[in-house]
């Protein structure tokens, strides 16, 4: 069992993810925005963070949060699974995909495109919770 923090502003997505993760006996904590991120993550002390990209008022809030976590020496060990409906390679749009994962641009452990099936989500979560994946 692990403690998983879901940071997403969409309550329907959060509820769906919570049901799936709790069925796998994980403890789920949720947060609807990226305000006071570092303090909250330090307080909750999760084993894994599931992070959305676009938040109201800032389409890049998820990126910024991932970068802030990666820069913090006390929190950088926590794997981040980025989960978003935005997944495109257009030069016009704000787009990215798994191949864009990098220390500078998207410093996360993995990326999944919404909607994610319960099987794909659980497989990825289990992989990231294994010590070797960190």
């Amino acid at each position: 069992m692990a403690r998983i923090l879901i940071i997403d502003d969409d309550p329907d997505i959060v509820d769906g993810l919570r049901l799936i993760l709790e069925s796998a006996h994980h403890e789920v904590v949720t947060k609807g925005d990226t305000a006071n991120l570092l303090q909250e993550v330090a307080r909750i002390d999760p084993d894994l963070v599931i992070l959305d990209v676009i938040f109201p008022g800032d389409p890049q809030a998820g990126f910024k949060a991932a970068r802030a976590l990666a820069r913090d020496p006390a929190l950088r060990h926590i794997p981040v699974l980025m989960l978003s409906a935005v997944n495109t390679q257009s030069d016009l749009a704000f787009g990215f995909s798994e191949r864009d994962i990098s220390e500078d641009f998207m410093p996360v452990a993995a990326f999944l495109d919404k909607p994610v099936t319960p099987q794909a989500l659980l497989a990825q979560v289990e992989r990231l919770l294994r010590p070797a994946a960190r």
Partner: protein, 462 residues
């Protein structure tokens, strides 16, 4: 009311040719053409010099001045060709045009004299120079060159009238020796040639300016349309993303219900949830295709993704993936690659994956149960052609033109595969365009369809 200056466009006002990159490219291209054209003149002068040494030449034709003209133009043209090497700044290019025109004038003045002055039609060649100067230079410069051309054209006749130059006739005797010493003739001749040249300059200048204005308007309209198209695509892309988020939330909820994460559901409720899930997945597929197609159309640097890849290996993967779709319907997929070893093409792997995955999905979806789909790879010189051939429902001839249009679905296709988005073939077309590939389709209703994609092969060393 227009002023006389506006009416006759002697001062074209704000219109300045060659003030942008397009005009600069045009100037450079025409400059090269001007240089090539002069080599023809060199050849003509040397040929005329050669002819002058034969018994068939007119008795008054002297080979030496013609040889001199040929050599003078050859030397000058070699120098101009060297100076016109890129990069060529606009100011230097225009200066070169002026220098070339003056060089030609000098050669033509000598030619006019040695070929008989008023007897010869050499003066017509000045008109080609004036026309070229009008095409390549600003209006004021072209007027100055037209006036200088007039002066050069008339110089031999004036010098002959003044007795500073002996009249020459290639026919052995002057055509009408009295003409060149008659002041009335000289006055009419000078006025006629001057007015004729200036009239020619004016007409050519007006036509050129008018064509340039139309060209500029068309270029501007084209730019506006491109911008509008990009804005439209951008808006569509954002709308598609707006649709995708709530749809993802719906599907997440459906997955939790279907997966029993909310407890057991009665059979009827499971059936209804199943239908909701299927429709939501179809809608999501459509939204994803819209996003994918918009992405393909708005890629600014598609070449950034291009790298040599083994087409045969990619096709093997695609065929293996399509077999999973086809297996439960008893459809057999066969892949044949002509030749041995890798077939390298310079391409984007992910985009070619989309292209062939779409063609194979269509071939399977529109095949009859138990049918056969053949994928062949043929290599001819620098091209590689992939053919995807099915024995399915085929496409009616009247629909062949429309199958690459967005959202078009032929009635028989809708019956065979109701879930299709009508966006797969537009994506195929867009990816083929991006790779400069040739896309062809042949089909007979009821017998099957063959799509062929011909790509450029990458050099083996790359």
């Amino acid at each position: 009311m227009k002023t006389w200056r506006q009416r006759f466009s002697l001062n074209p006002g704000t219109y300045h040719p060659y003030d942008d990159a397009r005009r600069q490219r045009e100037l450079t291209t025409r400059m090269r053409w001007f240089l090539m054209l002069r080599w023809l003149w060199v050849g003509a002068a040397l040929a005329a010099a050669g002819l002058a040494t034969t018994p068939w030449a007119p008795p008054g034709l002297d080979a030496h001045p013609l040889l001199g003209i040929g050599l003078w133009l050859a030397l000058a043209n070699a120098l101009f060709t060297r100076l016109a090497r890129p990069p060529l700044a606009p100011a230097r290019a225009r200066l070169l045009v002026v220098a070339q025109t003056l060089t030609d004038y000098a050669a033509l003045a000598v030619a006019t004299h040695v070929l008989g002055g008023i007897e010869t039609p050499v003066l017509i060649l000045y008109l080609t120079e004036i026309a070229l100067a009008t095409l390549l230079c600003h209006r004021a410069t072209s007027l100055a060159l037209a006036l200088l051309g007039t002066a050069f054209a008339l110089l031999p006749t004036v010098l002959e009238y003044l007795g500073l130059l002996a009249p020459v006739s290639i026919y052995g005797a002057p055509f009408n020796p009295g003409f060149v010493h008659d002041p009335r003739f000289l006055a009419f001749y000078l006025a006629g040639v001057s007015l004729g040249f200036l009239y020619f300059w004016y007409v050519i200048g007006e036509i050129t300016a008018s064509l340039r204005r139309h060209e500029d308007h068309l270029a501007q309209a084209c730019d506006q349309l491109k911008t509008l198209d990009r804005e439209k695509t951008r808006a569509m892309l954002h709308s598609a993303h707006e649709l995708k988020s709530p749809l993802a939330a719906i599907m997440t909820q459906v997955y939790t219900l279907q997966g029993g994460y909310c407890g057991d559901l009665p059979p009827k409720a499971r059936e209804v949830i199943g239908r909701i899930g299927a429709r939501a997945e179809a809608l999501m597929a459509k939204v994803l295709d819209i996003i994918h197609l918009s992405n393909l159309r708005t890629l600014v640097q598609p070449e950034a993704d291009m790298a040599p890849l083994d087409l045969a290996a990619l096709l093997r993967q695609e065929v293996a993936a399509a077999r999973e779709l086809a297996g439960h319907r008893g459809i057999r997929l066969v892949f044949e690659a002509g030749g041995q070893g890798p077939t390298l093409v310079c391409a984007s792997k992910r985009h070619l994956h989309t292209l062939f995955a779409n063609l194979l999905r269509n071939a399977v979806n529109y095949s009859r149960d138990g049918g056969r789909v053949e994928v062949t790879l043929e290599v001819h010189h620098d091209r590689a052609t992939v053919k995807v051939r099915d024995q399915g429902i085929g496409i009616a001839p009247e629909h062949l033109e429309s199958i690459f249009e967005e959202h078009f679905r032929a009635p028989e296709a809708v019956l065979q595969d109701p879930q299709g988005t009508g966006l797969g073939l537009p994506m195929v077309k867009e990816i083929a365009r991006m790779h400069h590939a040739v896309l062809r389709v042949q089909s007979r209703p009821g017998e099957g369809t063959t799509f062929s994609v011909t790509l450029h092969r990458a050099p083996a060393s790359s």
